[in-house]
Symmetry: C2
Subunit: 694 residues, 2 copies
């Protein structure tokens, strides 16, 4: 249990919050009673101070696993890690200075807030946007919540407070809250068809997540109370197993929201409702095609593969993992591992993106990983990271961290332009602008991805470390400071100095409040063929790539771990069953997947006409160069390649196989990190490059 830890750099604790708003929620009975009386925030705050077995709001992490019996790791609050200048610092600074504020303006400009105001009689605008438009507001609120956990942002906070006021103002007396199923559409509320397609519970799931992040930043329960009213007053009494009315989770999301709510309130009914939803209700019958697409409506534990809508599937897996961490249900654990293996063995892009098909935004068949046509929705890559984060919390197994890192640095990071104002919905692995496609846009009418990216970057500090009974886990590298404590309450500071992901040297200064025996679990990434670890200059044995290195000793202030990983460019090939990658290779350096953009190659050469010439010594002929002025600073790779003498677009579509090598000329090829593509001008891109026969 925490004894004391300083939060001095979190200015908002003292400047932006009233003392009365600082509360912690303790026992379900109290909370349930409070909720029943439909309190306004502030009036219902409990007094802080007496420690309970749950941490106070301000010390709850992305997920509050403090009491989760089947979580091996406990998460660390976002505020406990400060990411300093560096790779993620740069991204996160833009996220709060540009992305979150401009998204607020876009939500306004596109009528998302007027949807609420209209119901309060404060706007004449017609309903705007698709059925899930409320969730855009909630996801943005969650981004603000995580951002405020790292420090005050008065302007952004004011925007969020106003939004929250406008949201809660239109909650109906019975707890229902939705801006679409109102007026003429009110009769459609919560019908099986609406549950299947109408996103009512998806919206509320995001509302719960958003309200919780905001509460954990500010102690402000206004939106959280509205969520509790929806759950406790509207949902629980009326929906669930017979004789209540059935629920189908048309777009999984509510499951995660309910379980995180349970982790605050301790109200088991919320957990049980999540379990009920995950198992589906036979009374709500849908065609198989639909239950595949929804990744819900049939028992989660009967699933054997990932299929259907990728974001739905990932969110369902997140909820199911959360459910496992609370219940230890072995059937869930078996299914989760089967699905995970299915994904990483047959359905995940090298970028960490998932969901191959535009048609249904869906998982494809095993090994169906087209590059040009890759869907790889930003939200699905985020869902993949969120799921692996939960699997990691359940196990402490580094294989999940490898997926987190792959998705985060590549398929997620590609989703937001480097200036923080344009977003990818799709994240293809090859691109040709002549098709007319525009890959980065400021706004989508289905604008799920932009605020999802924002909340992810805002929450990033929460992913750097976890605690365990025996010590601490370090998951991600970047210049950063941890100010937290071990599970026994001993204060612990950790300072990372790194130039990651450009460089594989990481210095980790470990400063416990007092000398103490514990295990420092240092992640060795799966990509790190050569990693050396020393403590205070003395080599540590037993380093294994793709595992956590358990360094057990008496740690004391002044101890320094040094991790040295070589970062040569690595050449990857895909399983031969991936038809789209036959004869092709991808490049990776450290955690970063690389790609070629057309504008970096010799003039007039089309990417379709080039091949990489590896000769006999893969990787030895790459040139790596750090260019500090290139797209915020990056290491680019160069290698010799070949190009067809004449553009192959002049060839016929089919010709007789000659067995003769094509006529080519040597050219230099240049590769940039995949996340940075499409940040300059419309140009071709590809991740998987053919190998020359030469």
């Amino acid at each position: 249990m925490p004894k004391s830890h300083k939060l001095s750099r979190r200015r908002f604790v003292t400047t932006a919050m009233s003392a009365a708003a600082v509360s912690s929620l303790v026992v379900p009975e109290v909370f349930g009673r409070v909720a029943k009386s439909r309190p306004s925030a502030g009036a219902t705050n409990l007094s802080d101070g007496s420690l309970t077995d749950a941490p106070p709001w301000k010390d709850q992490a992305i997920e509050n696993l403090a009491k989760s019996p089947y979580a091996k790791l406990r998460q660390i609050p976002v505020h406990a890690v400060t990411i300093k200048t560096g790779f993620w610092g740069q991204r996160r600074e833009i996220n709060v200075s540009k992305s979150i504020p401009t998204m607020h303006d876009l939500l306004e400009a596109n009528g998302r807030m007027n949807n609420f105001r209209r119901l309060a009689g404060k706007s004449d605008a017609a309903q705007s946007g698709p059925v899930f438009s409320d969730s855009d507001v909630y996801k943005w609120t969650e981004a603000v919540g995580f951002a405020l956990q790292s420090g005050d942002l008065p302007d952004v906070r004011r925007m969020a407070e106003k939004a929250i006021d406008e949201v809660v103002a239109v909650q109906e007396p019975d707890g229902y809250l939705n801006t679409y199923y109102v007026e003429d559409r009110e009769s459609l509320r919560m019908t099986p068809q609406t549950q299947s397609t109408g996103h009512e519970l998806y919206n509320i799931g995001h509302m719960l997540q958003g309200s919780i992040a905001y509460y954990r930043a500010t102690g402000d329960r206004k939106l959280l109370d509205a969520g509790i009213r929806f759950v406790n007053d509207f949902l629980l009494p009326n929906y669930g197993p017979a004789p209540k009315k059935p629920i189908v989770s048309g777009h999984p999301e509510i499951e995660m929201g309910l379980i995180e709510l349970y982790r605050i309130t301790g109200d088991k009914r919320q957990l049980e409702l999540a379990g009920y939803i995950l198992q589906g209700d036979e009374r709500a019958k849908f065609p198989e095609r639909r239950t595949i697409y929804m990744f819900s409506g049939t028992p989660f534990t009967a699933r054997t593969k990932l299929e259907g809508h990728a974001v739905r599937a990932m969110y369902a897996c997140c909820g199911a993992t959360d459910y496992y961490m609370e219940t230890g249900d072995a059937a869930y654990w078996k299914t989760l591992n089967t699905l995970w293996q299915d994904m990483v063995s047959t359905k995940m892009y090298v970028s960490g993106g998932v969901g191959s098909r535009s048609d249904g935004e869906a998982f494809g068949d095993a090994y169906e990983l087209p590059n040009f046509r890759a869907y790889g929705e930003s939200c699905a890559a985020i869902g993949n990271m969120m799921w692996n984060w939960r699997m990691l919390s359940a196990t402490g197994d580094a294989k999940f961290t490898d997926v987190i890192e792959r998705a985060l640095y590549n398929g997620i990071n590609s989703g937001m332009s480097l200036d923080g104002t344009l977003y990818c919905y799709r994240n293809p692995l090859a691109f040709d602008p002549s098709t007319g496609d525009k890959i980065r846009n400021p706004w989508y009418d289905v604008t799920c991805c932009p605020p999802n990216l924002e909340r992810t970057f805002a929450s990033l500090p929460g992913y750097f470390y976890s605690t365990s009974r025996d010590g601490i886990y370090l998951h991600l590298y970047d210049n950063s400071e941890l100010d937290w404590h071990l599970e026994d309450g001993t204060g612990l500071k950790i300072t990372q100095k790194a130039n990651y992901p450009w460089d594989g040297e990481v210095e980790v200064a470990v400063t416990p409040a007092k000398p103490l025996d514990f295990i420092f679990h240092l992640r060795i990434p799966g990509w790190a063929d050569t990693a050396q670890v020393s403590v205070n200059g003395k080599a540590v044995a037993g380093v294994k790539q793709g595992e956590y290195l358990p360094i057990e000793r008496r740690w004391a202030a002044g101890d320094v771990i040094r991790l040295r990983m070589e970062m040569p460019p690595q050449v990857l090939e895909a399983n031969p069953r991936v038809a789209d990658d036959t004869g092709r290779v991808a490049l990776q350096r450290g955690p970063l997947v690389y790609c070629m953009e057309g504008l970096d190659q010799p003039n007039g050469v089309e990417l379709a006409d080039v091949a990489l010439d590896l000769g006999q010594k893969p990787a030895s002929q790459f040139q790596s160069e750090y260019l500090k002025d290139m797209l915020g600073g990056m290491v680019i790779l160069r290698h010799k390649g070949v190009a067809y003498q004449r553009p192959t677009s002049g060839n016929g579509l089919y010709s007789r196989y000659s067995g003769q090598p094509a006529r080519t000329r040597q050219i230099p090829l240049t590769f940039i990190p995949y996340y940075a593509w499409a940040n300059r001008q419309a140009t071709e891109m590809q991740v998987w490059t053919p190998l020359s026969n030469a």
Copy 2:
């Protein structure tokens, strides 16, 4: 002009038709007047006998190009060619004995006929099937019409007569006819939205085609008159350029129907309406996305590439080519050639199938030709054949015949099971039954493909020859007899003896009614590397593959052309821009594309784990063997290959590129013609096979 030609084998002329029903339609004025008075069939027949410049109904071909000023070739009536025992004879026999009758029963069982009966007060059944369900009936009627052109089929004819009676009984007084936009939906008729998605004019286009084929078989004008009433009474007075109401062709098809109707009636308004529809009407505004999908709604002549829904695009191109053949409009001709080049250079499967994407049943981007995920709708391959048939008629250029043959023998022929009762909607080029997909089905609720295949096989004799001013063109090879005449009226019989496509020797006996100078244009397929032609044993010089060999001489009874084409298995490679085919080859022998089915390979070997080992001498190591009991008789191919020592499904998804050849063992590989796949048991299939590195 025809002087005399015998039709003795067409028994129905004397047995099934009353003399009064034998009519020919002459001048538009008369026909227009007749139509206005809403005649019943029979009452409005004109007397036959006096020859006009249009051939009588029974001598009209698939398309009546007798007066089309910009058609270089004239088509030959279906009845003039008798396909004997052989490759197509077998397929066509099953088509009339199995496919057409069972499809009739399925249309009944699935309520398609009850849709009409309901409106006549003869059925209580609810409306059944999608908005285009009427077209299923019309397309089936067209299949019957073509089948009857080859000889009487009393049972089938009775079915069609009954169906036609039930259709025309519910035509409304103003000419409108549709079983979906009735009762509650009547107010939606011909609104812009309904035109865009409701298939009203698509249905009528198929009704016109069906009625014309039936008329040309039987002289029975009942359905044709109903079509004319729709066009002349309902459409022409009310829809068209301002001040009439606008038309958008939501699914192109009406264009072809209108122009073929014009070719019977001579009523220029029908041609002009087709031209108006092809150019779109600015008053009917749709988002660009929609006009791309529809391949209509914007000027056809402004299009620069094939895109959107593949069947729509193909039918639009058919209509546009028809329009060109009547008008000679140079803008159309330019566009048609641009689009054709776009298709054959970047968007056509080696099977002749088109439309890569399931999503929107659409053309993909250039070189986007996935194999497993290929859509290749049967209807789109048929549309491709129909379009190329029109381009061939316009030009006499053999490059179009090569596409016809490729589509017909492969991507179309695959669409119907060999027993004639199961149909493919998709025609992928690789398949894995473990995905749960079932590729051949007796019925689809969207059942466009099955009757489309039936009408195509029924019409096949009409594709074998054309006449030109200077002689005759032979397009397709099979045991067959032509009994027709040259354009100057001289009778001409041609007998083909062949074992095509299994063997490349074709004997062509040419028997003009009298010795005559003309050119025999003998097609040399594009695939025929070594073709030798002799006439009466004497070699003919100038043979060029992919062209028509013009044999100019005085032809007389007893003349025999011998065409000898070697048919070695050929190894094809795709343009390197086709990412899905990188490192892979396809096999073709004669016009047939080959594939591997899993059940023909060594036990336990998955197709994903095999590669073809061509060694240094492509094609020389194939074994070809004719198996008469295999799936109706076929040449299969064998070649040595390799398989991975261990199934690659056990490998990870991504691994470090080693540059070392994989560990493999030699195995024999067996290939069957693509059209015959999925006729035994659920098993894997693939057309494009990786080449081994060995």
